[in-house]
Structure formats: C-alpha cells, structure tokens
Amino acid sequence: MSVPEGLFQGLKILELGAGAAGPVATRYFADQGATVVRVESGVRPDFLRLLHFRPGDPHGLNGGPMFVLMNPNKLSVAVNLSKPEGIEVALRLVGWADVVSENFSPRAMAKWGLEYQRLRELKPGLIMVSSCLFGQTGPQRMYPGFGGQGSAIAGFNHLAGWPDREAVGPSGTITDSLSPRYVALLIAAALFHRERTGEGQYIDVSQIETGVYSLSEAIVRASARGEVMTRRGNHAEDAAPHAIYPCAGPDRWIAIAVFSDEEWRRLCEALGAPGLARDPRFARAADRLVHEEALDAALVERTRALEPDALMHRLQAAGVEAGVVQTCADLLQDPQLAHRGHFVRLRHRHLGDLRFEHYGICFSESPRRLETPGPDLGEHNLRVLGSVGYDELEIRSLVEAGVLA
C-alpha cells in the first residue's frame, strides 16, 4: 500500500525564525504532506523577503525571490511577538503543533516565554528543534554572525580555493545548506522515536557543529598526526589526473578524475593521445602525482578545443569519470535533473513563473510534490488561526490591535 498523500500527511509543524537554515529543513516535511506554518513578523520580517533584484520592488515583502523559492508548500501567519497577545497566539499554535522548529539566536524564545520547558507543559509530546550558529549554550553563543561566518569558523573556507591565494570557501554558505539536512534528519528521527515511545524531546543544533562534525576527517588528521589540512585547488592526494580543465567556449570547463592506471589508459585512448599513454612519467598513479604539473598541462592542450558536453559523453562512454562544470543555465537544461523531476514550474502571483526545486531524495512510495509557492506575509492568518479556534471577529480585532502583524 503506498501513501500517495505524502509520508508526513497529518503532521503539523510550527516554524519560527528566518533565513535559510531553519526554513530549508522544514521543507522536507512540507513536500511530503506536512502542514508547515511559518510564524513571521511584519515588523522584523525575514531578511530574505527584503532581498530583491531591484530596490523599491513594488511587491515589497512579498516579492523577494529567494524567500519565495525557499518556502513553497508553507503557510504564513504574521504575529507580533513583542505583544503579550501575540505570545498567546503563538502558544495556541504550539498547542496545535507536533513539531516546533526555530532558528533565532539563543534566548529569543525564552525572552518570549516560548522556551521548551514552558511549551512542553502545554504539549507534553512536543518535539522542538532549535538551530542557530553556535548552539544554545557556551561562552560565545550570542555571537552575531551569518552563515558565511559559520562556514569560516567551521573550517570550510580554509579548505577551498588555491594554495597561493585567500581562502574562498565553497559557494553557498555551507552551514545554510548543510545543517538544515541535519535538522530535517533530527526531526524525522525524533518523530520516529515518538511513534515508538510517545516521547517528545528538545534538540539543540549548532550549525557550526554540524559543519565541524562533517569535517571529522580533517579534525582526526589534525589530532592524530598534527596535520593541518589546507586547500589544494582541485588536486586529490592520491589520484591524478584530478582537476578541472578548460574547454571550448567562454568559461566552459570539464572535471576529469582518474583513479587507476587502467582508467588513465582509457582516457588517453579516448582523447586520441597514445603518446601520452606511453609517457613513462605518467604510467603509474604515483608517477602521475609526482609529475602532476606536466600532466595537467598535457591534458589542457587536448581539452581546450573540445566542446565540453560531447567530451563528457565520450569519456563516460569510455569508462572515464568526467563531468561538465554546469552553470545555472546548464542545470535548468540538465536531462538527468529533468528525469528526476528536480525543477517544478509554479506560478507565483507577483513574480510569475518560477522554477522551484526539490531536494535530493525520491521515495518509492511517496512522490514528492510542490503545490504552492512561498506565501505572502500573513497570507494564511485566517485559515490557520481559524483552525486553532479563533473566529473571524477575533482575528479581525487582533489585526486591528497590531497583534497579527
């Protein structure tokens, strides 16, 4: 029996916070049928609502493309938590929710009287997850950085780039795309635990800690042998060739990685370069590593005039690992991503047709679905508050009192 309406049909998630780290996590559940309600503030809106292509965009808080793209399938209520009536609304919503997810800085929830100890009294089986840069405890927990600072502290920036230049860090603030997966994992695991035991729990996630945990290899190598890993461009420690080579066309590149002498021979053959295969400097892996500069130069000579997509197909057919360096334009045309149904076109009332994205999991029993684009601020006040027992009159007076704002 499949569960066509989604793995998390019937699950209720209340989300507080802003940015990427928290909202990306709850999307996993929204895409599988959960009802995810974002409690937002019109007074201090999610800064992603403010990032526009052009300043003075007419759609204001409801025209931020990044916000819209990051929050499909979700409902939005606007609540002013600086008012006691706003806190009451929030508490009513907690009573409705199975899961509360928040990514404010520490103390924020407690300041509003929304800390776990209090919420648990309201809802004993509640699952609550807090995620912020440094976690809920510790001498530096109030450090005000964004994801870019988190990635730097966690060690990702130092490890990306060229040895003779500044650290660049891999694109995208890693902590914003990495730690949401951990948050999603923890919510799912906590839900599983609750199914079996009836018990809820509180989980404290530090985005930086998820980053450092991911980099366990670097930490272990430092502790065990005093090695401080650093950036080395695209080279691998024990395989060559292993780099990104220029192709024909402006800023077109292909990644090639060879892990055995047999693959090296196949690469040479596929490139029509038997001389390269016979060159004793490159015959064995260790020798290729010793002569890597000459090796890369020899390959650049052979790739620079070739069209990258055709080259990728030719090399892959020959059993050699190769992949085009894809731009956003390439990704939108990528046939494999199309096969996975990665991009979904939805119409947004202000921005028009947008290409939304799924994450990387396909469940055999529950197709992932994207139904609604990111909501307007407070778009679902009526519907959500109605479902927790407020009538229309009450809702209107709350709006007038500036509580739902």
């Binding site: 042998r225 005093g226 090695e227 401080v228 650093t230 080395r232 260790a286 020798d287 590593l289 010793v290």
Partner: protein, 394 residues
Amino acid sequence: MPGPLHGIRVVDLTAMVSGPMATAVLADQGADVIKVEPPGTGDLIRQIGCSRGELSAIFSTLNRNKRSLVLDLGQPRGLAVLRKLVARADVFAQNFRPGVAEQMGIGEPALRSVKPDLVYVSISGFGETGPYSRRRVYDIVIQALSGMAASQADPRTGVPELVRNIVADKATALVAAQAITAALFARERGAGGQHVRLAMLDATIAFLWPDVMQAHTYLGPGATPPASLAGFLSVRRTADGFMTIFAIADAEFAGLCRALDRPELALDERFRDTAGRMRHADALAAILDQTTRSRTTASWCERLAAEDVPHAPVNQLEALHEDEQVLANALLVEMEHPRAGRLRTPRPVARFDVTPATLRQPAPSLGEHGAELLRELGLPASEIDDLRAKRILG
C-alpha cells in the same frame, strides 16, 4: 600519496649503521631502497643487540621500508645482476673500506659506465686517502679520534668518556642522507650524476665543532674565554630524581628566581645578564643544586612551568613513550613485524604535508625479496632458480 622521494631507486651496499641509517631516511621518504647483502650472515648488525625472531631491534629500526637481496658478488653472474640493478637505479651507496669496492668491481667508474647519471655515494671511516684510510673503523674509534671522547671528559677528574651511543655513526648517516638528496636535486636541475664522498671522522668533528671547539675557532689572541659548559650541561638532583633547569634570557632568569623563591639571586651581579649567566654557569649550577634537593621533580616542574623557565624532568628510557608531549606528537608507533612480533618505532621525523613519509614495509628478512627483484629485472624463472641453486642468489 607518495613521499617526496617517490620514484628514486637506491641500490644499497652499505652495512651496519652509518650507511643504512642514511638510506633508511631515504626509504621513509619514499625511495625504493634495495639492500644488497652478502651470503651467510648478511648485514652484520642483524646479529647485534637485543633480538627476536632472528632480527635485531637495531636492524629492524634501521632497515624498514627496504627490500633485501642476497648476492654473491664474487661470482661474475652475481656481479652481472648487480650491474643490471644499478642500470635502473638513481643512487648507489657503499661503506666498505676504501679500495674494497673497486676490487669487487663495483667502484665508481665501473658503475658509472652502466648508469652515466648515477649518484654514487662512498662513506668511509677515516677518508679515502691518508694514514688511517685503510684501517678498520668502529664508532668508538671515531669518538676517540674526533675529540668527542675528550669533550665528554668528567670535569672533576679529566678522564675522557665515550658518549654512550653510536653518535659518530648516526651523525654521519644524517649528513649522508642530506648529501644524497642534494646530489639528486642537482641532477634534477641538469648537473648529471656525481660521486659524493664523506668520512665518519669528518662528519663527527664537524658535528662537534660549533660549541665544543669554540675556544679553538678564533686563532690568535683577543677572544674572550669560553664559559665552561659543564655547569650549563649538567643535571640537577631533586628529592626524588633528576631534571635539567637553566635560564639564559633575562625573563627566564627572573622567572627562575621566583620559582626557586630566591629573590636575592636577581640582584647577584654575576647573573645580571645572559653573558654573565653563561660565564658563571658553574656557580649558578651549584646554587641550583643547593635548592633543588628540597622538593620533588613534579613539584619543581609545576613551579618552573608556571614561570616559563626552561626545564624538564629526566625521562627514563622505559617511560619515554608515556611522555605527554611525545604522545601528542604521535612520534612512537606500535606495529606488528611478521617475524619479530609487536614493536615500537619512531615514525619518520620530518613531516611533509603534501608528500608524506610513511612506514610501508617492515624490515626484511635476509634475501626476502630476491626472486621479486630479479623478476622485476626481467630474468626468467629458470635463470632465477639456477642462480639460487648455484648460491649466487641467496
């Protein structure tokens, strides 16, 4: 990830310590070192000292990462095999007495004809020419000749002493390792091969020279007399053991006075500055001796560390592997040797962050890799069997 010398092949005819320790450094750093040993007992050091599984501990430390081949070089076919090996090698090293390699047909000119760009290394005891050059040599001989024993003289009795480890052999080996790498580097830049020669006597005297021979460096009058190093280079007795303590810089001395609780020392004119402290090192050492017996080593270490004064407890050999800094450096590694069993050994000392030096193979049994090496040379199985039957291959 290969080591920095990956791809370099060394044919190693050296034995005992001065040569093998050098080629061990190269082997640790990734070179393929082929140890050619004589039939019978092989490298004599296999039999010297603490042993297990027919492998002396010294041998197992000095010959890891190497392959062993036993050849009777007195036989023409044995010599022919060696020449085939050298034809594919970058380095050839020997530490026979001068003249012996030539007699055996493996002198520098003979092997250069086989491999024109060969780096040929000769390590001798005393030098290739000169009155002692043909004499037999051991470490203790060089310690005596080089001034090492004299420099170790007991300051009270004047009786010379030997350093209680084979320091002359080991110093020579480390000089040789660097010299071989320099010759390879020069070859890489186009200089071709060359003959690299060094003598244990020379290496040891040079090793001693900077400090031990300071009073004999400036010739003629006008140099200030050196301080006796005895005070500086001595051990303090504590209530329960021994340690070293000294203060050279001003901040260190200030810290020392505080740690010893002897504030009046800070006013002593003799110890007012670095030069003074070194000049009056004996006196300072005597003062320290009065004080240090009153507390335990651990107690002194705590106080001295708090004041950032240079010091250390004297580690006993059996406790070396437990020292917290030694542990932090992950210097000592435990591994299994197939014949000798579990052993402890230092990892390669110099750490390379891109081309690491690793321990790839344990020290070989005598002739363990003979067949493998001859197969690599392209000799057919029948010939390998024949060589073995005739005891040319051991």
